[in-house]
């Protein structure tokens, strides 16, 4: 009985939270976690790349592609954050079901984009570091691993697509006439 009451109180707490809070958190997560993933991937690639480039300096400019792939992940996050931000409109009825739905959908699309880009950045970063090492040993391997890397970076795009579709459902009730 105690648990049910406790649960009900907490679910009510969500109902009393303004949808603008959810929207704002969603936007923050989409850009913040994407950048985290991109940064994580870049250091995994970068630290290996500088080490491997000591022996084989020719790999540096080629392997910048791996770093750029990681960087793209952050750009996805920024783009989605801008799209979500344009969806955020002012309304006089913040607790209308339609507003609540808009708030939740912006929140969810922020989470989707953020975490999809986090793991995508990690994936690209780890492949990029292996790519630098194998390119230093044998330059014919570079293109082959680059293909894998492209597939890895496509994962982030899935998140972006779903996030955009999800956010397109957000609409805010217009002011009563």
């Amino acid at each position: 009985m105690g648990f049910v009451l406790w649960w009900r109180e907490w679910t009510h707490a969500f109902l009393y939270m303004s949808p603008f809070v959810f929207s704002a958190i969603g936007i923050a997560l989409s850009v913040g976690i994407s950048v985290l993933g991109a940064a994580w991937g870049i250091y995994i690639t970068g630290s290996t790349l500088i080490g491997a480039a000591i022996r084989a300096p020719r790999i540096t400019s080629k392997n910048l592609i791996s770093v750029i792939f990681c960087e793209a992940v952050a750009i996805y996050g920024v783009i989605v954050a801008i799209i979500l931000q344009t969806k955020l409109e002012n309304t006089t009825q913040p607790f209308d079901p339609e507003s609540m739905r808009a708030g939740y959908s912006l929140f969810a699309s922020g989470i989707i984009v953020g975490f999809a880009n986090l793991v995508c950045g990690l994936c690209v970063g780890i492949i990029g570091s292996s790519c630098a090492l194998s390119d230093a040993q044998n330059s014919t391997l570079f293109v082959k691993i680059l293909v894998i890397e492209i597939f890895g970076s496509a994962l982030g795009l899935f998140g972006v697509i779903v996030g955009i579709i999800m956010s397109s459902q957000a609409s805010w009730p217009s002011a009563p006439i």
């Binding site: 290996t48 080490g51 491997a52 230093a136 040993q137």
Partner: protein, 351 residues
């Protein structure tokens, strides 16, 4: 967390791992060895090595080269690489790298103590020591008369001190004692290294424990073969085996009672990885065993490079370089002594 090293390994280890893989690319290949085997004189050897990583080290050597010079310079290259890695390393990699040098330290201690026992000059002995295993007070090892003094006066300040707990005795040093001391120390060292690698966890633990287990098994076989026909009792022999590895514990029980090489072979045939090694040798032949073991070791060390984000590559690189130095020593000796027909007997190809 097995499999998740990829996420955080590069914070500390990524740069050095890439460097060590770069060093690995500098190891001599089969083509290099083929060229070296064609050499007519040591100057030819030097000329061939000039195009490799050893080039800068041999460049300024005056022309009548000696085998020792070549070996010395190759070792110098290894030591420079090692020191470079050690200065760049952070914990726990620096401890890991230090562990690699302890084996040489044990060999050096044994070398000095044996040499002093046979009344050789200390400076002459110091020159023969492996530079990776040098420590500050190594020259004073010569004063010790028995193991207790050896420990109390010199080794208590070195990293080897904990390994001595099992072999402190007041007996005077003699050849047998020293050899037992070497093996007891090595046993304690391998076990300690094994525990350390297990503590590191992840891919490092998997690969390093495999390599160390192979090392321990190889030593067990060596101890058995070398102690056949000596006064070492079976129990004493049993005590020198490390307490891990594929042969532990049942294989050790069987090895401890072996009286000749064919019994050792019979024991090892029960272990598939070693069966293939012994299958290469014809019956009653134990001379080629070392080479067969070296070949297997090199194969395993090369496989350590197949996986990324672990420390075993550092160990593997240093071991491969040492093997390469042995190869070059053999080649130079064969060339210097005009024994070119035997040149292929002693080389273990790395790639």
């Amino acid at each position: 967390m097995y499999g998740f090293e990829a996420l955080y390994f590069n914070v500390d280890g990524g740069y050095l791992e890439a460097i060590v893989r770069g060093y690995r690319a500098g190891l001599l290949t089969a083509a290099d060895y083929n060229n070296l085997c064609q050499c007519e004189s040591l100057d030819d050897v030097k000329m061939h090595l000039a195009a490799t990583d050893y080039g800068p080290y041999l460049a300024n050597e005056p022309s009548p080269l000696h085998t020792t010079t070549i070996v010395e310079k190759c070792t110098q290259k290894l030591v420079d690489d090692y020191n470079h890695m050690l200065t760049q390393a952070t914990e726990p990699l620096s401890t890991f790298l230090e562990y690699i040098s302890y084996g040489h330290m044990i060999d050096n201690v044994v070398l000095i103590v044996t040499g002093t026992l046979h009344e050789r000059d200390v400076h002459e002995l110091l020159e023969k020591c492996h530079p990776l295993g040098m420590f500050d007070s190594i020259a004073t090892l010569a004063v010790a008369q028995n193991l207790r003094e050896l420990y109390r006066l010199v080794l208590v300040d070195t990293p080897l001190a904990p390994y001595f707990s099992e072999c402190i005795s007041s007996e005077d040093l003699d050849d047998m004692n020293i050899e037992i001391m070497r093996n007891t120390l090595y046993k304690a060292y391998l076990e300690d290294f094994y525990r350390f690698c297990q503590k590191l966890g992840g891919a490092t633990a998997t690969i390093m424990c495999d390599l160390l287990a192979f090392e321990a098994d190889r030593r067990a076989v060596d101890i058995t073969i070398n102690s056949i026909g000596t006064e070492l009792t079976r129990d004493d022999r049993r005590k020198l085996y490390s307490n891990f590895g594929l042969l532990y514990p049942y294989g050790h029980e069987e090895l401890a009672v072996c009286d000749d090489f064919d019994q050792v072979r019979g024991t090892m045939d029960k272990y598939p990885p070693y069966q293939s090694i012994f299958a290469k040798l014809s019956f009653g032949e134990s001379q080629m065993l070392d080479k067969a073991f070296y070949e297997e070791e090199v194969k395993r060390l090369c496989q350590a490079f197949e996986q990324q984000f672990h420390y075993a590559v550092f160990f593997a690189y240093i071991r491969l370089r040492e093997q390469e130095t042995r190869n070059l020593m053999w080649i130079s000796e064969c060339v210097a002594q005009n024994q070119k027909s035997r040149i292929h007997d002693g080389i273990v190809l790395i790639f």
